[in-house]
Amino acid sequence: MSPLVSIRDLTVRFAGAKTVNAVNGVSLDIAPGEVLGLLGESGSGKSVTLRALMRLHPEKRTTYGGSMMVDGQDVLGLSGPALEAYRGKTCGMIFQDPILAFDPVYSLGRQISEAIRRHEAVDEATAKARAIQLLERVQVPSARRRYDAYPHEVSGGMRQRAMIALALACKPKLLLADEPTTALDATVQIQVLLLLRELQQELGMSVIFVTHDIGVAAEISDRIAVMYGGRIVEQGPLADIMTDPRHPYTRGLMASTVRPGMRGQRLEAIPGMPPDLTAMPPGCAFAPRCAQANAACMVAPPPLVSQGNRQNACIHAEEPCVAA
């Protein structure tokens, strides 16, 4: 089956006083109906990659390189009406903070029915009925009444559900989710994750789910790609990455994540800090924090090498594991 999303050597640079190299050569394929968890820390380029897929970066300051194909469309070549049709119809997006994603002066329901009418030739009454149906589908209680509620009038969990309804209003083939549960309480987070899982299976859409939380990624993803310094350092099936991480960064990330049963043990923190994106080292971006790094790591970024159904970007991948 040909992939729905095919990204090749994507680079994203932001101009300014210093040029920020936010994404430095990302290649990704996502099959129809697949859920990819994009895992990384702040500044790893995971959100920038996602926003690039929606072309949300300010055009004047952003330089793209490489290519992105989604459902046969060249995303970097789109402009004008074609880009507007692509956003929302082919590709929907949900964000971390729904209060910023919604327009505060229109009711939640009106914004959903507006999106439906923008992409489909239906009258207002039909669009409204569809919007109410969608709100019911995302488990907003008394949906008919909430149709007229403004974003500030409902709770955070309810706003997040309404944003999911908005993103799915035109049945996109690809859903981009940018940390949609990070700001929610654990009890609400699990409800939203279960809802997304259900909707994904029902609609058969592909999802790219960006998160910094391994536990959240495990709840929803089929495959995991780990990003660091604007590159993918490791990717593979969920269970493989979680039980047998091979890149030193992924290993460090797993070891430094607090989990039950670690009481009394000292945490294995990764020393140092993420790289400065305005002055990337010439070699592996993780080398300055890596216990296994040697002179060879400093020469050029290691390529992403396939090993069976997983990929790893570390020149020491074949060597036995050294404790960090």
Binding site: T257, R263, P271, M273
Partner: protein
């Protein structure tokens, strides 16, 4: 550690058995002004009759959903806001009592670290000036305060020669949180309230700061109150854990007892809502439906009953009190009280 500067030495006045902090019936309601069209009115019951103690040298974890009153409790304890009612006793001395401890003296003994490392620092002050500021307020001379601040920056892993002269925006989030920790510890406190202090940090940096907090606790003989929504981190660091719901304490107990044998249905729901970190184990059903309720004019009886699968008539009639369910383990649930009349209030609880 501060023998060379003019701060009073910390004396254990109450003895080892006296809790460092004793809180009795703490209450804070925020009134809601009536709006233009007569809407609103009533009050947010942010903290509603909270009693607990913090033992010397322990770490008390505090968990709960947003709006449960955990941060308001912290702010009441450090007198950043004034309580409506209730008593705070610090090492045997009432805060604000005529023969007790003054608020200024309390604040030297009780320091806070907040979630937002950037908003907590004055952007126009260098890092070492920020750390020295509290000492100067407490009457230490400029030169001695600066020397102590530099010493403390070294202790939290920020070389003072490299970092001391920088401004908050010139360091990373993890480093800024170290500055906030240094500032809190500079005045030689006995109790530090960490209000979501590691929540905004990336996992790899969070682990560094957690290790640092445990090292500093041992070095300076500190007591922590650790407020967090991250139940894994709370389990890792705490000796005892307090669970709050809608402005009240619903369960409190030793960490192993509470995580292993939670007796309040809310605590059990909260614990099972945490993603498992096991790739094969996915959550099948959500333990709770709906959002945390609004703390405006809460209903009588048990505040959790509207989301509780075990709610019965008695839960609406009477508010459950904290009752012992184990060694040092208390829960406020009618099912934990054999005399309540709840049908499940047998000696053994259904699981």
């Amino acid at each position: 550690m501060h023998t060379d500067i003019a701060l009073p030495e910390n004396v254990d006045r109450g003895g080892p058995a006296q809790p460092l902090l004793l809180v009795e019936g703490l209450r804070k309601h925020f009134p809601i002004a009536k709006g233009l069209f007569g809407r609103g009115g009533g009050a947010v019951h942010a903290v509603d009759g909270v009693s607990f103690r913090v033992e010397k040298h322990e770490i008390l974890g505090v968990v709960g959903e947003s709006g449960c009153g955990k941060s308001t409790t912290a702010r009441l304890l450090s007198h950043l806001i004034d309580p409506d009612d209730g008593q705070i006793i610090f090492d045997g001395e009432g805060v604000g009592d005529p023969d007790g401890i003054t608020v200024r003296e309390l604040r030297r003994n009780l320091q806070m670290v907040f979630q937002d490392s950037f908003a907590s620092l004055n952007p126009r002050m260098t890092i070492e000036d920020s750390v020295a500021f509290g000492l100067k307020v407490q009457g230490v001379s400029e030169a001695k305060a600066l020397a102590a601040a530099r010493d403390m920056l070294d202790k939290v892993g920020l070389e003072h020669g490299r970092f001391g002269g920088r401004y908050p925006h010139e360091v990373s989030g993890g480093q800024r949180q170290r500055v906030n920790i240094a500032r809190a510890l500079a005045v030689n406190p006995r109790l530090v309230i960490l209000d979501e202090a590691v929540s905004a940090l990336d996992k790899s940096v969070q682990a560094q700061v957690l290790n640092l907090l445990l090292d500093l606790k041992a070095e300076f003989d500190l007591t922590y109150m650790f407020i967090s929504h991250d139940l894994n981190v709370v389990q890792y660091i705490s000796d005892r854990v307090m669970v709050m719901y809608l402005g009240q304490v619903v369960e409190i107990g030793p960490v192993d007892s509470l995580y292993g044998n939670a007796r309040h249905p809310y605590t059990r729901a909260l614990l099972s809502a945490v993603p498992s970190l096991e790739p094969g184990v996915r959550t099948a059903a959500s333990p709770l439906v709906g959002d945390p309720p609004n703390p405006v004019n809460p209903p009588p009886g048990c505040r959790f009953r509207e989301r509780c699968p075990h709610a019965e008539a008695v839960c609406a009639a009477a508010m459950p009190e904290l009752a012992a369910v184990g060694d040092g383990h208390f829960a406020a649930c009618h099912m934990a009280d054999p005399s309540s009349g709840h049908s499940a209030a047998a000696p053994e609880m259904p699981s």
